[in-house]
Point group: C2
Chain length 346, copies 2
């Protein structure tokens, strides 16, 4: 299931707003529409947004009428700015745009070849995401045993990436390997990514699953009916504290209390070694409508005050291990993350 | 705010299905409509349902054309059966109906006086609920200090009872006493009683509050932004294990982990000394629609499998104290609950 791709000058992506009711692919031919697709969340999930930003730049490069290097770079920078402003807190978006701009600025190729360079680099970003996720999936799947029932929070499947996914990628890979598993899918209030996307993805892959309200996870853990917890990460500090979708912290604490292993899965690009701990990670506060309404239908009182932190921090002591494309990292995280981030050259 | 009352032969109740959009009182003149109001949840909350059952029997008594004791008792038993079958797992409903039937069977009064006896007993049940709740509210309010930010789960306010409420009654009483407090209202998925009812009630009473997704509670606890947790109870075992709305357990564990006190508030009628522990409390599994839809809007995939346990059990070790109308009970709960349930006569 390829979330988005660039082929023959056209970006083709799943319109995730229509899921799970229908699977619709949209074809995009210009970068302003790519910008709109990011802003309006036709595409979401950090790695997928990064790839979309790269593809947006590729469309801009192809459309540029510039005949000089300077004009071409100016066109690209302008498009990059428009794309970046759609979701400025998405780290991967800025990273992908900067990576391509840097490549162009460093090149001495003539303008017509610069166009190909941008397209190639955008494709490279997407392909690297898939390759990274496939490695993570294999490392993570090795942690899953026959008979496991896994609680999964939010959406970390193919739809959150270019393909394969992160935490859900591990689960799908374990199923593909023939392990008999069951997934308890947290609906993940307030945006319900679990109910809308993760449940749908697991059904597509035929992975046995049960959708639950986030509140129910504790019951299953307490009764011994859940044996593993898997979730992704939005940002990881150097000590292994993990910022992830709101509710990950509650889930991890209660799993830990019941001696159930907790795994957080992310590419090493999500790990920020400049942060001493999770306390330094700013928490985005989102709009009230996510909490008070569903599909525009309001169920909370008019005028109610709402708190809507989008993420929380799970301190490292509640994590059994961190899964990256370079391997599984166990405590002490500070030391072992350092080793993974700066591999000693052979 | 009186949730329901019986006056001049008419049962008047708030139609809670219309909240929080509008405050509508319905007037009911016959017991089959009372039965319908319970079944369709115009009225909900254990003590309120008990009182409604009693009022239903009172309407049945007034409507009975019986001229003999035997016929009158038969009419009452028939009505009692109809009322009871609306929500057979509601302990208070069966209890209220049996209490009235027992009173009638034990009486030697003539039929016309039996009618008054039923009405008086039904009124007595409602008045006792209010008196009990007022005592609990005062005991619980004493545990709340100026400056507290309290996380509250589900709905335990006036609307869940005849008036005053249980856990929320303590919070409203603390506010009434002039304590400066703030309430973080768990929306309480899947039925959203917190978002629909608790938020509305607190706004009516002018208690400062913020509505949050249940997932967000952990973030506030971890950041030191919540200082107390209050919730009610559906059933309490002799060792102090508390069965309550799904999600109470997760909340209590995470509060405990952050050294935040957790209080469960209930009348002593909710405590079942025949149960050795919470493991013996059966957990009701409810329909899938509560999880897959909100306000009739479906957001989960068609055909998805759903788990929907309505309650979970919070083991006694996560509770700081249990608040009843007879006082605040601290650990060791086994011993101290016994003392409260069987008070030594002076």
């Amino acid at each position: 299931m390829r979330t988005l791709e660039l082929r023959d000058g056209i970006v083709r992506m799943i319109d995730q707003r229509r899921l799970p009711q229908e699977l619709v692919y949209v074809e995009i031919r210009d970068y302003p529409t790519v910008a709109r697709s990011i802003k309006e969340m036709w595409v979401r999930g950090a790695p997928a947004i990064g790839a979309a930003g790269g593809f947006g730049l590729a469309l801009a490069a192809m459309a540029s009428h510039a005949t000089t290097r300077e004009d071409f770079v100016r066109d690209l920078e302008h498009a990059g700015q428009d794309l970046y402003e759609t979701r400025p807190t998405a780290v991967n978006l800025g990273w992908a745009i900067q990576r391509i701009l840097k490549k162009v600025r460093a090149s001495n190729l003539p303008v017509k070849d610069l166009r190909d360079l941008v397209v190639a680099e955008a494709q490279q970003i997407a392909e690297e995401d898939i390759a990274t996720n496939e490695k993570m999936a294999r490392f993570g799947a090795a942690l899953i045993q026959d008979g496991d029932t896994i609680i999964h929070h939010c959406n970390t499947g193919p739809l959150a990436t270019v393909d394969v996914g992160t935490a859900l990628g591990c689960i799908i890979e374990a199923h593909r390997q023939g392990k008999k598993i069951h997934v308890l899918v947290d609906e993940t209030r307030p945006r319900l990514q679990g109910a809308r996307l993760t449940a749908w993805e697991l059904m597509q892959y035929g992975v046995p699953m049960t959708l639950i309200a986030d509140n129910a996870g504790g019951h299953y853990l307490y009764r011994g009916l859940a044996t593993k917890v898997f979730f992704g990460a939005d940002r990881v500090a150097s000590n292994g504290d993990v910022a992830n979708k709101i509710g990950s912290y509650k889930l991890a604490v209660v799993a830990h209390e019941n001696n159930v292993p907790v795994y957080s899965v992310m590419p090493t690009t999500t790990i920020d070694m400049t942060l001493a701990s999770g306390r330094e990670i700013p928490i985005e506060e989102r709009g009230a409508d996510e909490v008070t309404t569903i599909e525009g239908v309001r169920f909370a009182p008019q005028g109610v005050r709402v708190g809507n932190p989008a993420f929380d921090v799970t301190p490292n002591k509640y994590l059994t291990a961190i899964v990256t494309e370079r391997g599984v990292v166990y405590p002490p995280f500070q030391e072992n993350l350092q080793r993974v981030m700066d591999p000693v050259e052979g």
